[in-house]
Symmetry: C2
Subunit: 231 residues, 2 copies
DNA sequence: CAAGTATAAATTGTATACAGCACAGTATTC
DNA sequence: GAATACTGTGCTGTATACAATTTATACTTG
């Protein structure tokens, strides 16, 4: 299955937007960006329209496309939405996950954790997301999976910044994750849901500070931006 | 704020897709459709890319755009996602809604209900959605609002079909809705959440049958379709 | 000097052209 | 007669051109 130019551009652009390589609220110059990506404005605009629908960009008629804004309240909303999705997903997973799939997930997470004592922040974030996505996949609900993927991508930048500045590496599955997994194995939906809610809630508490740190990182020196004319 | 051609086309197309005026899985001919809508393929494709991201259409590289499929499992997934969103939203609403906003919602729903004893299925669906969207809006979480709007639009067709075939009109707020609203007024998050979960769960039970009815409605005579060449 | 206005430059919005790919329908061969 | 190769038609993918709109710049005026 050959992927089209639009798909390629879409993926690249989502990466740029997710990492705020467009600064928050900055206007995006289509000509400059299309040249950057080695394509014309037509497929670029198609890709950007997808990203608008996904909440990575915004669009104003006649003025063009802009990077999404980054504000504490926006990020808190994303965390709350994660609670909604994941708490329900873990309930469904209790009912639906086969013992084999559940065991496969736990084994996978343990392998990942032990493989990386050195643990770059990127790696730790990857492992955390693997846990959360893994649980939601066990719910077997493609809609929940789809929404959480989107939420995670939009929240990733802030979480990464936070991990880089605060958290400590460990070589095992975090206790909070373990609690959820144990409840899943025991098919105890209520306990699993509570544990998941508490875990995300704790991450949420740090979000506001993480946004502050993110801002201080964003508006320093200047690594290339695509938001103004190329000259 | 002048809205662009893309926005207009996007809105029209979302309506068509939501009502399955493209048949499930049918391929969409861009030239024919752009002529239909009085525009060229460029803005049409931009609009369709947004709809792909929103789950109304699918896209296969080299083959074009297709209407989303309609299957019982897909619809069940949507109902489950609604549970996730709305149960959490009603919890947040308990904490955050002002007494005034809560009262305003209840008054509004009561007015709507009493205004329409004759109650077309369309009207009843509108009222049901007004309740659910109203509660989620009280959560003040734009992310939850956005996701639920999307879910509702994608589920609407099936629900409407079902209402047309089964349910009875009434001139008051349904008891299930009343229960949620009472719990909200009492700021009893747990009861409100349970009531909401039970209510949507009951709707969900009918979903499989609703899809069957929907199919029987879709593949009869033939009111104009845009899925094949215009001749 | 500030504010507003006119003019020029740049950028977006959309139509169109054309290359390349997918698919159907036809002919050919065993 | 069935299967396969071939050819033609139509559709999608993308670049480009140009009109319309917005933004920046320079100038004028109080």
């Amino acid at each position: 299955m050959k992927q089209s130019n639009v798909d390629r551009v879409y993926t690249q652009l989502r990466g740029l937007a997710a990492n705020f390589e467009f600064k928050p609220d900055a206007r995006i110059n289509e000509s400059a960006l299309s040249a950057q990506l080695g394509t014309s404005r037509t497929p670029l605009r198609e890709a950007m329209n997808r990203l608008v629908a996904e909440g990575f960009l915004t669009f104003q008629s006649g003025r063009g496309f802009f990077c999404r804004s980054l504000s504490p309240s926006k990020v808190l909303n994303l965390y709350e939405a994660r609670v909604a999705i994941e708490v329900e997903a873990v309930r469904l997973a209790c009912k639906r996950a086969s013992d084999e799939n559940l065991k496969a997930l736990i084994d996978d997470l343990e392998r990942q954790a032990s493989n990386s004592q050195a643990a770059e922040p990127e790696t730790r974030l990857e492992q955390d997301e693997a846990f959360h996505m893994g649980v939601v996949r066990l719910s077997q609900n493609t809609e929940l999976i789809r929404v959480l993927e989107n939420l995670n991508e939009r929240i990733r930048y802030v979480r990464l910044i936070y991990l880089k500045n605060r958290s400590q590496p460990t070589a095992m599955i975090p206790p909070a994750h373990r609690k959820v997994l144990d409840a899943l194995v025991a098919r105890d939906a209520e306990t699993a849901a509570q544990a998941m809610r508490a875990h995300i809630g704790r991450q949420r508490e740090d979000a506001a500070e993480a946004v502050r740190i993110a801002y201080s990182q964003l508006y320093v020196p200047n690594a290339g931006d695509f938001t103004e004319g190329t000259k």
